[in-house]
């Protein structure tokens, strides 16, 4: 098994609900708590497993905002695991989930240096490195209904921009979607072989935009009226 996420960049609305749900679940999860520093102070900061960035692609009038959720990619060739001197970082053979044994970590930050995706964050209260667990304490929980045995972020996403599944199974929903939509990994040139895959933006008909102001008497009167009203 090779468990991971598919994130649909075309659908994500950038609401940060996945990050909140992640924080909520994992604060009391296996690697929790996720410490906050000055949560109500002037410089709020803290540990998050999932962060959403917002990008702008291309230039006006063809520009498009792309919301970009990122968490651990659970890479096939995870350098964060090989560089770890204590053996605290490990990749599970059975499902490919990369985890950190909090009892072994010495907080040297070396794994975070090796991670290109910024998935690992040091918890300054516990002095240990923390990261996305793919909700390992949810997805195998026999007490939960089968449809709820999914990572918190996937369950909560109101836009259904996130999918969870086994990438080794060619017939799984994630594998099929990646095939059909042309999913891609991030920074493939570094050869980490990330499991999480992103789906590209769909091509949509171009919405015509007036880029040039229309001249003429009618437009001048309209602009004059607008100026009067604004005063």
């Amino acid at each position: 098994m090779r468990l991971g996420l598919v994130i649909d960049l075309d659908v994500c609305v950038g609401c940060h609900a996945c990050a909140i749900a992640c924080k909520e679940w994992n604060a009391s999860g296996t690697i929790g708590p996720l410490s906050d520093y000055q949560p109500y102070g002037a410089e709020p900061s803290g540990v998050w497993f999932n962060r959403i960035r917002h990008y702008e692609m291309d230039e006006y009038p063809n520009n498009k905002t792309v919301n970009f959720p990122m968490s651990c990619m659970h890479c096939e060739d995870a350098d964060c695991v090989t560089v770890c001197p204590t053996g605290a970082s490990y990749k599970r053979a059975e499902d490919g989930i990369v985890l950190i044994d909090q009892d072994k970590c010495m907080g040297c930050n070396y794994c975070s240096w090796a991670c290109p995706y910024g998935a690992r964050e040091l918890d300054r209260s516990s002095g240990t490195m923390k990261k996305c667990t793919l909700c390992v304490d949810r997805i195998y929980d026999q007490n939960l209904p089968v449809e709820e045995r999914q990572p918190s972020c996937v369950l909560t996403c109101p836009a259904h921009a996130r999918m969870f599944g086994d990438f080794d199974d060619p017939d799984s929903a994630v594998s099929r979607t990646v095939r059909e939509r042309g999913g891609f990994p991030l920074m493939p040139e570094l050869n980490y072989n990330p499991t999480n895959t992103y789906l590209p933006l769909r091509r949509k008909p171009v919405v015509p935009v007036d880029t040039q102001p229309v001249g003429g008497l009618k437009e001048s009167i309209k602009q004059f009226a607008n100026r009067l009203v604004r005063r």
């Binding site: 803290g46 960035r53 702008e56 792309v66 040297c108 090796a114 240990t128 991030l186 920074m187 570094l190």
Partner: protein
């Protein structure tokens, strides 16, 4: 990268200690300048070892959870950090056996065998220190064989200057020590110059386009999604103005290489006496510390592409 002072002190001090110890073995084997007495050799060896020990202790100050530091010896097979720790610890007993065989006048074969083993192990340990940084694909400025070469050259350069200082105080013929220092310091200077030349334009690097997979158009960051800094911006967001980096590079060459070189001439001409040798060693170490600070400050981690950088 954020330059952590404990790591800077650790790499400079342990590099100089390992360099001093292996050069001490060479000085002993070839009886350079008449050769040190056993007491002087043991004293020099102990100084070198304490530099290494203080360095190792200082390196634990940058750990957020030092109570688990003993576990760092467990992943020898994959981690350069672990390898460095193991080699540094194995170095200690071998070095002590070498010093003991000098002190108790053991047979020459025993003394030479352990001396050679210790010198080779010192070399491997400094190489491992360099490889900790050089093996990271995420930092283009570090991912080059020039990094372990620089670590070795600078460690041996500062070690050779310390050894020269010892030779001056021991009243030996300083000429072979000056020649050795001059050679190693100039090699270190040339290697560092190549490194600085290379990182000006380090070839193909990830861009904001490959980092986001949005490769068909210009991409720019609108919002990082957090109101204040995170661990990632604190650890990797360090920026150094290009002009300041240039000034510091001048300082590295002036303090680390040129001033010791001038002092070597003074020692050779018997000007300034022991003070010249002291200045040479102190300037060499200070130059190495500035170099190490720059090494961290100039490194650009690819995670910056998710915080607004266009390329790394």
């Amino acid at each position: 990268m954020h330059p952590a002072f404990s790591v800077i002190f650790f790499t400079v001090a342990s590099g100089a200690g390992f360099g001093l110890f292996s050069l001490l073995f060479i000085a002993d084997t070839f009886k350079l300048g008449g050769g040190f007495t056993p007491t002087q050799l043991v004293l020099g060896g102990l100084i070198a070892m304490s530099l290494v020990v203080f360095g190792l202790l200082s390196s634990t100050f940058h750990l957020a959870n030092p109570k688990n530091a003993w576990r760092a010896f467990s992943r020898f097979r994959t981690s350069w950090l672990s390898r460095e720790g193991v080699f540094a610890v194995v170095f200690m007993p071998l070095a002590l056996i070498y010093l003991a065989s000098i002190w108790f006048e053991a047979p020459a074969w025993l003394r030479e065998t352990f001396g050679l083993l210790t010198a080779v192990l010192a070399w491997i340990t400094v190489f491992s220190t360099g490889m900790i940084y050089a093996c990271l694909k995420t930092i283009r400025q570090w991912n080059t064989p020039l990094v372990p070469a620089n670590y070795l050259a600078l460690g041996y350069a500062s070690g050779s200057l310390l050894l020269l200082l010892g030779a001056v105080y021991a009243g030996l013929d300083t000429t072979p020590y000056i020649a050795m220092s001059a050679l190693i310091v100039s090699i270190a200077a040339v290697l560092k110059a190549i490194y600085y030349f290379w990182i000006r334009n380090p070839g193909l690097t990830p861009t904001i386009n490959t980092a986001t997979g949005l490769t068909r158009a210009k991409v720019k960051l609108l919002d990082t999604g957090h109101t204040h800094g995170t661990f990632l911006t604190q650890e990797f967001g360090f920026r150094l103005a290009r002009q300041r980096a240039g000034l510091l590079k001048v300082l590295v060459f002036g303090l680390g290489f040129a001033l010791p070189g001038l002092m070597l001439v003074w020692v050779f001409n018997e000007q300034g006496g022991a003070a010249a040798a002291v200045i040479a060693a102190a300037a060499g170490l200070a130059g190495a510390a500035v170099e190490r600070w720059l090494f961290f400050a100039e490194a650009r981690h690819v995670v910056n592409l998710y915080h607004g950088a266009q390329r790394c």
